[in-house]
């Protein structure tokens, strides 16, 4: 393996960071299996015994709702012979976990409940009911913020709030937009596999330079149809395909108007608004409910939050104004799963849910008109990086112009396409890897 300290330079990165299986193993161990990783939302498991499988680094885990209403995160493994405890991706385990191999049972917190004929079978052995190694192993730490559950497999490290830092705005912005201050999951997960290293996804999410190149075909097609619809529409009616056509109408130079703000641990906020607040009747009805719930002043603050995307490094991308979230699960050095969820703003009118649902279906479904071209680029990037055609990936755009202030690094005004987020991610990556 290449010397880890030689992989990252301030404005460029060695290709092995993306393609070397040995590097992948180290990053799983030192990053994904150490830091806070998003498991899921509490509303995915409303009833006692409800569980979801979740992959943290290379570790298959279970997120389960216990009798005390507590959410537990456990290794999906029976301590007896190592049998996977739950084979289904999600479900309800009832009163207890029961292994399908020898019927050992466990409480929802992982503690051993019973072993068939334990007294006769284990008398005089090293094993008794209180042996800790006979319980299902728990994630070292589990914490929630506004219903979003995270786990860390390392005992030590910053607490969740410290780790999230300013990126915590992702969850505040999403929940605050609900008149009841909470969101609940829409029970469907689009799971998409990309044939590339996971880091390419994290870089692309806040890459303001790519949309008008990668997605222009969809942007133009949507813009054409949008114009046809607008001709027939009544006033105030036409939101139509703005979320798609923006990829063509916002030309490459205009993306510089966005701004990225980059934080310790690799997190990033892409500020800039997609213009999804027209003065149509649906938005007005929603505004009225929000003002009633929060008062005029607080309402203005909430809807004035100017965020397009928040990245929680290394594995989460949140689009809070549209209530969607993508969790990144690395499956191998060249294979990555993204799990894409949509949330409903509690107390908001149906029309507001439908607006963001349209984005979820059009942009994030497997028939996506947008993501398809990203997936193509990811695959092509990984192919190119696997070759001997060059050793480096360049992140030099606007390097040296970033503005450092109070521990954050912002792209300079009118430099929204700066590769500052990638530089910041790889800086955090290098720090983790040298630990």
């Amino acid at each position: 393996m290449l010397d880890l300290s030689k992989i990252v330079e301030p404005d460029r990165v060695r290709r092995e960071a993306y393609t070397d299986p040995a590097v992948f193993d180290v990053e799983m161990q030192r990053i994904h299996e150490s830091v806070w990783i998003y498991c899921g939302h509490q509303s995915q498991i409303p009833k006692v015994g409800d569980y979801y499988q979740v992959q943290i680094g290379r570790q298959p885990m279970l997120m389960v709702r216990g009798k005390d209403n507590q959410v537990h995160v456990l290794y999906n493994r029976c301590p007896h012979r190592g049998n996977m405890m739950c084979g289904d991706r999600h479900g309800n385990t009832g009163e207890q976990f029961r292994c399908s191999y020898h019927a050992w049972t466990f409480h929802h917190d992982g503690k051993l409940k019973n072993i068939p004929m334990m007294e006769s079978g284990y008398a005089g052995t090293r094993v008794n009911k209180d042996s800790p190694e006979l319980s299902m192993k728990r994630a070292a730490r589990v914490e929630s913020y506004r219903g979003f559950v995270f786990a860390s497999l390392a005992k030590d490290g910053p607490d969740l709030k410290t780790f999230l830092g300013k990126s915590i705005v992702a969850f505040d912005d999403m929940c605050d937009r609900a008149p009841e201050g909470e969101v609940e999951v829409v029970p469907n997960c689009f799971r998409v596999i990309q044939h590339s290293n996971w880091k390419l996804f994290m870089e692309n999410q806040i890459d303001a330079l790519h949309p008008s190149v990668t997605h222009q075909s969809t942007g133009r097609a949507a813009h054409e149809v949008e114009k046809q619809i607008a001709k027939k529409a009544k006033a105030g009616e036409a939101l139509s395909y703005h979320m798609l056509s923006a990829f063509a109408t916002v030309t490459i130079d205009k993306w510089d108007n966005f701004q990225t703000i980059n934080y310790p641990y690799g997190h990033c906020i892409l500020a800039g608004y997609m213009g999804l607040r027209p003065q149509d009747p649906d938005t007005k009805a929603y505004d009225k409910i929000m003002i009633k719930a929060y008062g005029q002043k607080r309402f203005e603050e909430i809807v004035g939050v100017n965020i397009h995307h928040v990245l929680v490094y290394p594995g989460l991308s949140v689009q809070s104004p549209l209530q969607q979230l993508r969790a990144v699960r690395p499956l191998g050095v060249d294979r990555t799963l993204t799990e894409i969820w949509h949330f409903r703003l509690k107390g908001a009118p149906e029309a507001i849910y439908r607006r963001s649902l349209a984005y979820y279906n059009l942009v994030n479904s497997p028939a996506t008109l947008i993501n398809a071209d990203d997936l193509e680029n990811f695959w092509k990037c990984h192919q190119g990086l696997s070759s001997d055609g060059g050793d480096w990936v360049s992140f030099a755009r606007h390097h040296g112009h970033d503005i450092e202030k109070d521990g954050s690094v912002s792209s300079a005004p009118n430099q929204g396409t700066s590769e500052a987020p990638m530089r910041n991610q790889m800086k955090a990556w290098a720090k983790y890897m040298s630990a």
Binding site: N188, E224, E350, L357, L362, S365, A367, L375
Partner: protein
């Protein structure tokens, strides 16, 4: 028997339009308010207001067609080949106005050097019009949708 024959011919024609990439002709098989719908799971009862892999009216179908035809639709270069087989055609309901028909499909796709298979069932609600059948709703339950999507669908199945 006449309806059975006509419906079968209609389904064969629809799949042939996909395999020969005659997108506009394919879209024109739909009624003005027709919907093409692929739910994420079999238990979905309606396309309206639900997560969906596809839930498209003719406007969105037109966006999709124009996008695929655009020279810079990167993931669509080179164009792929598909081959649909439609079978097990069974009329479930028939009235003077419409026919509900279920069928099974199997599609082979060649993309670059890779061959993939997609399979499932169609449930067509067809309106009887003066110019023949028009699709009011086409529900597509694709078995592959149960697994992680190790592919991206770009046109209709």
């Amino acid at each position: 028997m006449k309806a059975q024959y006509e419906v079968e011919q209609f389904l064969y024609k629809q799949s042939d339009l996909l395999d020969t990439k005659r997108w506009q002709d394919w879209i024109d098989l739909f009624a003005p308010d027709g919907i093409y719908w692929m739910p994420p799971a079999p238990e979905y009862k309606t396309w309206d207001g639900q997560p969906a892999i596809f839930a498209e009216d003719r406007n969105l179908m037109t966006v999709r067609m124009n996008r695929v035809l655009h020279p810079d639709a990167w993931s669509q270069r080179p164009l792929w080949e598909t081959n649909h087989v439609v079978s097990n055609v069974a009329i479930q309901k028939e009235s003077g106005k419409e026919v509900v028909v279920k069928s099974r499909f199997h599609m082979m796709e060649l993309r670059r050097d890779d061959v993939r298979h997609f399979a499932g069932s169609y449930l067509h609600t067809l309106a009887k019009t003066k110019t023949g059948y028009k699709i009011k709703l086409q529900r597509v339950d694709m078995a592959n949708a149960q697994a992680a999507y190790d592919y991206v669908l770009q046109v209709w199945v």
